[in-house]
Symmetry: C2
């Protein structure tokens, strides 16, 4: 027997008020909690309770234990990594998803989960100005989406027989290679580890001054590998690298992939949301020639964690990489009923399409474009503040989207270690304020700071304050 | 700008009442919706709206479009696959998780997400009567947990160099083999496909009359493979197979794994929840010698999708299989701060620990055990109804947990195709009633029906009615 629906209602109403207050006041919290590792564990009983506890007691612990240990991703001053937003329609969608608890492994196990996923991913395709012929599915993370894409690439030539025979101990198989820029996300490397391709078979191609993969270096790497007996398999182009959000030249990479018969996967986990802005689409020119693409609505499309969308123009190949139907999951609906479990490793599938559908409707295509535009404008404005300041401050990379890489070099300082340490100190001081949270990265040997704008609450006032804190911290 | 917190509150209160009514009345719905493939898609606009729509309109479509297309996993008559429950504390937990939108990739990105995950997985360890020395982490699905376990097994011998060098085209590598029973879940095969081990290198070992892996056949398969130059790598023992919930003899398998230096992974995705019942633990004897174990709280531990727990006694090996820290994710907290991203492919990590913590507290260890016991008793009672009936009805497998495999054989019928067709008809008729939803499987050549009890609303009255429908359908 579950707790009663009356008890649900009583606490859900209470939490609705609690969450409303949280969403209203989140800017008053410190972005980063002031806890030391182990402090939260120390507050919790070492063992589970034998007897049932009341929901009143449990929910009281949300305020007492959870909130003081939370990093507030909803905070307007969250400017680290890629800032995101759990928007109101998305949070409401999750409320329904949890209650219905549908599992969309098969069409039959919840037709609406499957069909809404088909519809909303096709809506995204249109929102992004992509042509026809793309199959869309929702996964949990870009790491999984990219791994799926590379699994499909590995399966593309069935003659290799990897699905059936695997790769270990087969002298007949060529060494397979994956190419990406030196600034590609670690998920490409992790996918290669997982798939048994090996870290050293991910070739990190050099980039140009604007941190974009250099096509001629890609061609050279492919040819050198072929000459040495390797077999090039796939290229991952990034549209919005994690460090500095650079965009690889997809059009030229696509031409190389076509010429060399390689699978082209585009990692636009963050940047892809900018496809919703028509005037930004030229950045992604050539996308229509890719074999697969990942965009994460839980990054910059206002959807709560987790929600990643994998598009592919080769669904049959993806299916070949993953389909396997045991007797207890055989169905009788025929080909009209899509069974998403056939397209991935994961069998259980939450009803993630619902929140995405609610977000797209609640903002509308124009409203989404407007918000993305506004974030990009905030980033340009922040970059301008840094540039205008001078005094050792500089913007260290182009700003195609909503993320700015910058740093401060004390007068006369040329030692990169000293500069890194100086900027790390600036970052630590700024983050200790509790008002903003920024992160860092390296551009080659340069240690730089990052301000990433992606939360719907972030305004020019937030960034003015961040800039004030940064300038103070530099002295 | 997001929608306002006032707008959130207004709709959250409305949904709280809507969900409360749903949880109260879910038994009045048809378990399976009466829609044809494509019918839901046809109701939805082909393109996303340009302008924002009101939440009132969007939420109205939940009743209009979503509910008529939903399979009601919450229904007391949901007896298919593995029935589960989104319990009240779990649904409330998801409400908070969505609003906070924490990402537990690093300790720093939300200390409470990490530490609560450490605590609640350790609580589960104790709830399950497991000894010390287990590392616990939460993933989305058992498919991923098992894939992680086998990735760790593959990484166990670093001399193979698979992480770095991969497997393709390396004549120096032995062919790696994974063993499981012929009744193991397809996720073992899918993990092998994903990891590049190959379907044919999953050896499905014969089982005994009670559908349990035969240890002597395992030993024989291992020796035969070694003689042929294969390298045995891991064994997956199942505690609660998907078809008939049989439990492999873990103690004997563990002894073989120790002798042969193989990784032992135990797939207890469903059955593992029964470890909460002290008198059922002998079924799992030998578990303490396993290297890894998966249990899915979203199956039989009353937690909403998705929530799978992977335990391992070899966290360093798991970490070696997956850790990779790019500059932008380096941290300074030191070893006291666990970064869960180092233990898996997935970088983004929802705050899943919260709902599980709330479920364990709201029911308590004794309350959980009592509910699992009750489900097992219901299954025994149902099996007794079938056995007592005679007239061609029989129970086709032992019932160690809460799932019953059974079928009806018309008098004099011996043709397995005819019997299968007859039982498929029974199933279709019963499922058309809308009152219950059962599924089927095959035990060897026998087509059988399955009743799986796992929903907190299912009572003896539900099963009496299911049995009445079954008997009617057989005539």
């Amino acid at each position: 027997m579950d707790l009663s629906s009356e008890e649900y209602a009583r606490h859900a109403h209470r939490l609705a008020d609690w969450i409303a207050a949280y969403l209203r006041d989140v800017g008053d919290y410190d972005v980063l909690p002031s806890v030391h590792p182990g402090a939260i564990r120390a507050q919790l009983p070492k063992s589970p309770p034998a007897a049932a506890e009341s929901l009143d007691d449990i929910i009281a612990d949300i305020d007492r234990i959870v909130m003081p240990g939370a990093t507030h991703w909803n905070h307007p001053g969250f400017l680290a990594y890629f800032a995101n937003t759990a928007s109101v329609p998305g949070i409401l969608g999750e409320m329904i998803t949890a209650a219905l608890n549908l599992n969309g492994m098969l069409w039959r196990t919840s037709p609406v989960a499957t069909e809404l996923e088909q519809v909303v991913t096709d809506w995204l395709r249109q929102l992004f100005g992509m042509g026809e012929g793309w199959f869309g599915m929702i996964t949990d993370t870009a790491s999984v989406s990219t791994m799926y894409a590379l699994a499909a690439a590995r399966e593309r030539d069935p003659a290799l027989g990897i699905r059936q025979r695997g790769m270990a101990g087969r002298g007949d198989l060529p060494r397979l290679r994956v190419y990406c820029s030196e600034h590609a996300h670690s998920s490409v490397d992790k996918a290669a580890m997982t798939l048994g391709l090996g870290l050293e078979n991910v070739v990190h191609v050099a980039s140009d001054d604007a941190f974009r993969l250099r096509p001629e270096m890609l061609t050279r790497a492919i040819h050198a590998d072929r000459a040495q007996g390797f077999r090039p398999m796939a290229v991952v182009a990034t549209a919005g690298t994690t460090s500095m959000t650079s965009v690889d030249p997809i059009e030229e990479i696509a031409a190389i992939c076509q010429r060399e018969s390689l699978w082209l996967h585009v990692d636009a986990a963050y940047g892809g949301s900018a496809l919703a802005v028509p005037e930004m689409r030229p950045l992604f020119s050539g996308l229509g020639r890719a074999d697969s693409l990942v965009v994460n609505p839980h990054k910059w499309l206002f959807t709560p964690m987790d929600c990643s969308v994998l598009f592919t123009r080769q669904p049959k190949v993806l299916r070949r990489a993953f389909s396997l139907v045991p007797e207890y999951l055989t169905t009788t609906e025929g080909d009209d009923a899509l069974n998403y479990m056939d397209y991935g490793l994961q069998l259980g599938r939450r009803f993630r399409a619902l929140k995405l559908w609610m977000v797209v409707r609640a903002f509308g295509a124009d409203g989404i474009a407007e918000r993305i535009r506004a974030h990009c404008a905030l980033a340009q404005r922040f970059a301008e503040l840094v540039r205008a300041e001078g005094e050792g401050w500089s913007v260290c990379a182009p700003v195609p989207f909503s993320t700015v890489c910058f740093r401060h070099v004390p007068a006369g300082e040329t030692d990169e270690d000293e500069i890194a340490s100086h900027n790390a100190t600036i970052m630590a001081r700024v983050n200790e304020s509790g008002e903003v949270f920024i992160s860092h990265t390296k551009l080659g040997e340069q240690y730089v700071l990052r301000v990433a704008i992606g939360n719907l609450r972030t305004t020019s006032a937030t960034l003015d304050r961040a800039w004030e804190l940064l300038r103070q911290a530099a002295h």
